[in-house]
Symmetry: C2
DNA sequence: AAGAACTGAATCGCGATTCAGTCACGAAGG
DNA sequence: CCTTCGTGACTGAATCGCGATTCAGTTCTT
């Protein structure tokens, strides 16, 4: 395995090798090459799976040379992790902005659900990479994906906790557990959607129903 | 890439190469060697991740020679898929048996939830393999894991549908969607549990809360 | 002794990564 | 304005290690 970064307590001792902000500073006239590579990687990973994808295939899809990838990413693993981090941070900021505009806890929760499924519906490849490919290795999850992921979960948990404080939601359940429940439910739905037919509009219809169930389960009596 | 079996419509054309029931028929006095290998594989995969694990490591952990693995499994991928199939079928039959003993829909749903989390709590390694490692590749999921997985989802969906027919559950949601929601929620909880502290008893406490939420969301008014 | 189960060292292909060049462009000088 | 450097981006063919798989040989079972 491409070891370099990536190791957890249960494996060899970590030697993190300075998570650098990689890549040539200035950008050529071709626009952001890093972004081009990330986009290509998303497409190819979704189609073939991370491990079955050769770096040279990503390069070809992005229209760059094999070596160029290594100017922007440390190695193949870093490519996957960067992809995830980039996208989840984007989701997070979009979410925070949207949440700020809703006033009731119920609206905020629906917002979370619609947002998570909505993002994926618009980008099926990304959905597949996140729900399936990202879970490549425990090591990768634990070391790199987990922290940003927790940020996202915290965001959801906060919505729940606030709802409880205001009396809108039942208070006898742990906000974090609820957050994980919600995330898991949405992730599972997205996964079966991505792996199956992926009918257009399927996810948004699903979102409404799931929101109905979870809300009536959560609203205070 | 270990191609052999494993290809989906989106990749090269399939050439399934007769999914054989592998392995020497008779078993040595050592007990079931196939089972020994599966158990060892679970442990090692959980610790290092599927792709980072060498076949020789599984062999060593199982106390057999490298070559012996290939008497029981077609290749490394087959090992992972067999693992999943074996375990989910076991879960399925245990579940069906348990369901037969509950009479109300509510009890049956609680049963599903407790069973899925209970199985994993007892076998943390298996939990990690199923929630994380299994999702190695789209190809693998689509071709082999998906069918058995659907069987399991159907089982859950049946519980919901029956509850709806009897009037116990609200009827305005799709049983399959609910099944996916429930599975996803449980899977997500198990994942964060397996990747995190994995406190003993954590899952069963979670089970109760999740069941409470989902049930009050599902019960007819 | 025949056959099955098992072994593990050697093979062999693959693909991530490297790095010696090439290229493009702005700066400096004529 | 043209020429020549210098620098950083980019290229892609060659390397090189790894590890899945094989199979000739060994050991067990009958």
């Amino acid at each position: 395995m491409t070891e370099s970064r990536f190791s957890s307590s249960r494996e060899e001792p970590a030697r993190p090798k300075a998570r650098a902000s990689r890549g040539p500073r200035g950008r050529g006239r071709e626009g952001d090459k890093r972004e081009r590579i990330l986009r290509a990687a998303t497409k190819v990973f979704a189609r073939k799976g991370f491990y079955a994808t050769k770096v040279s295939e990503v390069a070809k899809a992005a229209g760059v040379a094999d070596g160029t990838i290594y100017l922007y990413f440390e190695n193949k693993d870093d490519l996957l992790v960067s992809l995830f981090e980039d996208r989840i941070l984007r989701l997070l900021s979009t979410l925070e902005r949207a949440l700020a505009e809703r006033d009731t806890s119920e609206a905020r929760l629906r917002c979370v659900i619609e947002m998570q499924l909505g993002l994926l519906e618009g980008e099926r490849d990304l959905a597949e990479v996140i729900t399936v490919n990202l879970r490549q290795s425990t090591r990768l999850m634990k070391q790199y994906a987990a922290p940003k992921f927790m940020l996202y979960l915290d965001s959801i948990a906060r919505v729940i906790a606030e709802g409880q404080k205001s009396g809108a939601f039942r208070a006898d359940v742990s906000p974090h557990l609820v957050a994980r429940t919600i995330f898991g439910a949405l992730d599972g739905i997205a996964m079966t959607w991505a792996l199956g037919k992926a009918e257009p509009g399927g996810l948004s219809r699903a979102a409404t129903q799931v929101a109905d169930i979870l809300l009536s389960g959560l609203l205070a009596k």
